[in-house]
Symmetry: C2
Subunit: 219 residues, 2 copies
């Protein structure tokens, strides 16, 4: 089957996890795997595994299952990880520094080409061989290097103004760590949020909910 027209967000969200598990299998030297085996490993269902892969065309062999290396390569291609989208990072607090220094951009389809902060004390520092520049230089830098994406590691209060500047400088793709909804301001942007606080609140909900249910039993 050919690639489906519109892949649902549910499917896309699962792709990185498939990619991870297949990467492990590949490293472990496993050559073939059936949808049933993979589903058991990942705590999901064989039906879902097959449905997911078949959104992009059939990669398996009836009677034999899937070739691990081939499937791994296909998912890599589907995710677009062979790209080298130029990205700049803004905000070199602890979080920005963690992202800049430890994230494997090259393996995730990106290339970090610029780092910016508003604090003069940080200008000139290098992270990963990249010199931290002033936020004031963002526009000229974008004009010269045309980055595709911006990584926002600045406080919530700065994002409104900053995203406006980045938008005007031609950037339409954002990896947003701030507590701010960029997609509410623009509708022609691609935004991927990492809302850590939201995640912590959901953990809190799960814990308190589990305690509620426990009380239901004992009372």
């Amino acid at each position: 089957m050919a690639r489906k027209e519109n892949i649902s967000a549910s499917v896309i969200k699962r792709l990185p996890r498939y990619y991870r598990f297949l990467g492990e299998l590949k490293s472990a030297g496993t050559e073939r795997i059936s949808s049933k085996e993979l589903a058991e490993k990942m705590h999901t269902t064989a039906s879902q595994v097959r449905q997911d892969f078949n959104c992009f065309g059939g990669f398996g062999q009836q009677g034999l299952g899937y070739n691990v290396s081939q499937l791994y390569a296909e998912i890599k291609r589907i995710l677009g990880l062979n790209n080298k989208y130029k990205a700049i990072l803004i905000g070199v607090g602890n979080l920005g520094r963690a992202v800049a220094s430890h994230m494997s951009f090259e393996e995730r389809g990106f290339e970090l080409i610029g780092i910016f902060d508003r604090n003069p004390a940080l200008f000139g520092n290098t992270i990963r061989g990249i010199t931290v520049q002033s936020n004031d230089d963002i526009e000229s830098f974008c004009k010269e290097h045309n980055p595709k994406a911006a990584i926002l590691c600045v406080p919530r209060s700065s994002v409104g103004e900053l995203s406006k500047r980045l938008y005007n400088a031609g950037i339409r793709c954002y990896w947003n760590f701030s507590h701010y909804d960029i997609s509410v301001d623009y509708d022609d942007v691609i935004v991927q949020n990492v809302h850590m606080s939201d995640s912590l609140m959901i953990l809190c909900y799960k814990i308190s909910d589990s305690e509620l249910s426990r009380n239901d039993y004992t009372e």
Copy 2:
């Protein structure tokens, strides 16, 4: 209506976002808001807003809408943010340091009571007034203080062994930043993942997919 028995994950995921927007409205001095207005602000639908809130009982007034402060307080209660779950953090790299020093645990239902690392060079450092201790002391610390949750900011390769130790020390709730699926090992744990790499790969997918579609038009 009384609280529904099982709240779906879809609804729960939206709660922190409601909480954020209502917090802003409250700060701005808005006293009442209708599901329609809130939906427009948040780029969602009035139906969904009302359905979501009605999972937990009716907080609105027919003809008048919702009282912002009251609704804010209700969602806070629902999320369990009034709790003070004791948490320990393991791994003081840049990411661990960012989380330890900047996350508003108190406003998210948690209290950070211990920080651990395996690197002796860090022992004795203080973050947020908390002294970094050796990973070796985790068991005795847990025995004494009984933390509810563990925050994992260690590399993927350490999580298998570490989560086993934490599990044996009685911890069942994990906020996991590592690239590792704890829930695959245990089925009586509560895990909330922040998989930053997965998020970056999804951004990559979205970008490359948007470029594919553009090519479809021009060809």
